[in-house]
């Protein structure tokens, strides 16, 4: 399953009980709502293990970070988890600047 909104391509891959959301492109105020919608749909469908693959994320700003923070909190409230995987250099830098590396699980960085 995949969807496009100009500069961001979102692809969801099911691996066992885990949903891996691949982000390819730029996450900004224009595209962040699409990620929120995708994660909300997965959560409503009962997913308790969501991984955001950030390896191909070319840009992220505060609107993108806010979606990640909010999704992480909502998943925890549902008894699930949201993890970040292989953040690109630009994503890793922002996660470090904001201190999110200490609060959200990151694998493959």
């Amino acid at each position: 399953m995949s969807s496009n909104l100009d500069q961001l391509r979102i692809t969801v891959e099911r691996a066992g009980d885990r949903d891996i959301v691949h982000l390819d492109g730029e996450l900004d105020p224009h595209t962040a709502p699409l990620l929120k919608q995708e994660v909300d749909q997965l959560a409503e469908a009962g997913s308790l293990d969501i991984v955001l693959d950030l390896s191909r994320l070319a840009f992220i700003d505060s609107s993108g970070l806010r979606v990640v923070i909010s999704a992480h909190r909502e998943m925890a409230d549902r008894g699930g988890q949201l993890t970040l995987r292989s953040p690109s250099d630009t994503a890793q830098r922002l996660l470090e600047i904001t201190g999110l590396v200490d609060h959200i699980g990151i694998v493959g960085s």
């Binding site: 900004d28 105020p29 224009h30 840009f59 700003d61 505060s62 970070l65 630009t90 922002l94 600047i97």
Partner: protein
């Protein structure tokens, strides 16, 4: 041994000789769809000025955050007017667009945190039915 002398300006920042025009203007629809163009222009000019990859990345994010903040309350349709110019070793970006409210934009705490970390100087406000910002990002001092 080779030595390289880096000329500094009055503020101690590296002086960058550049052929870019004194000012570049960009007029785009004031919607989030076009923020990418504002970022691309900033990145292109900073690249011409010899900014490091990290400084260019800082600038892209800062421009994006400030543009996003001032277009939040625009009447539809509206235009976002941006100017970019090199000044005293730094790249100055100014933006303005019409706004429904006369109130200065409220920056989200995450946006403010990023701007405080990534911009060398910035201001954001409202005047005469317009919201505006000013951002300065200097080229980083070369290591060593």
């Amino acid at each position: 041994m080779t030595s390289v002398s880096v000329p500094l300006n009055d503020t101690g920042r590296p002086r960058v000789e550049t052929d870019i025009d004194p000012e570049v203007r960009l007029l785009i629809p004031a919607t989030s769809r076009y923020l990418r163009l504002a970022r691309l222009t900033a990145a292109g000019l900073a690249g011409d000025l010899g900014y490091s990859v990290d400084a260019i990345e800082d600038l892209r994010i800062a421009v994006d955050e400030l543009c996003a903040a001032i277009i939040e309350d625009t009447p539809n349709p509206a235009q976002l007017e941006l100017s970019y110019r090199e000044s005293d070793g730094g790249l100055v970006v100014e933006g303005t667009c019409r706004a429904r409210s006369t109130k200065a934009p409220d920056l989200h705490s995450v946006a403010r945190e990023l701007l405080n970390m990534l911009a060398d100087e910035y201001s954001i406000g409202a005047i005469d039915g317009h919201r505006n910002f000013r951002l300065v990002k200097y080229a980083e001092r070369p290591q060593g």
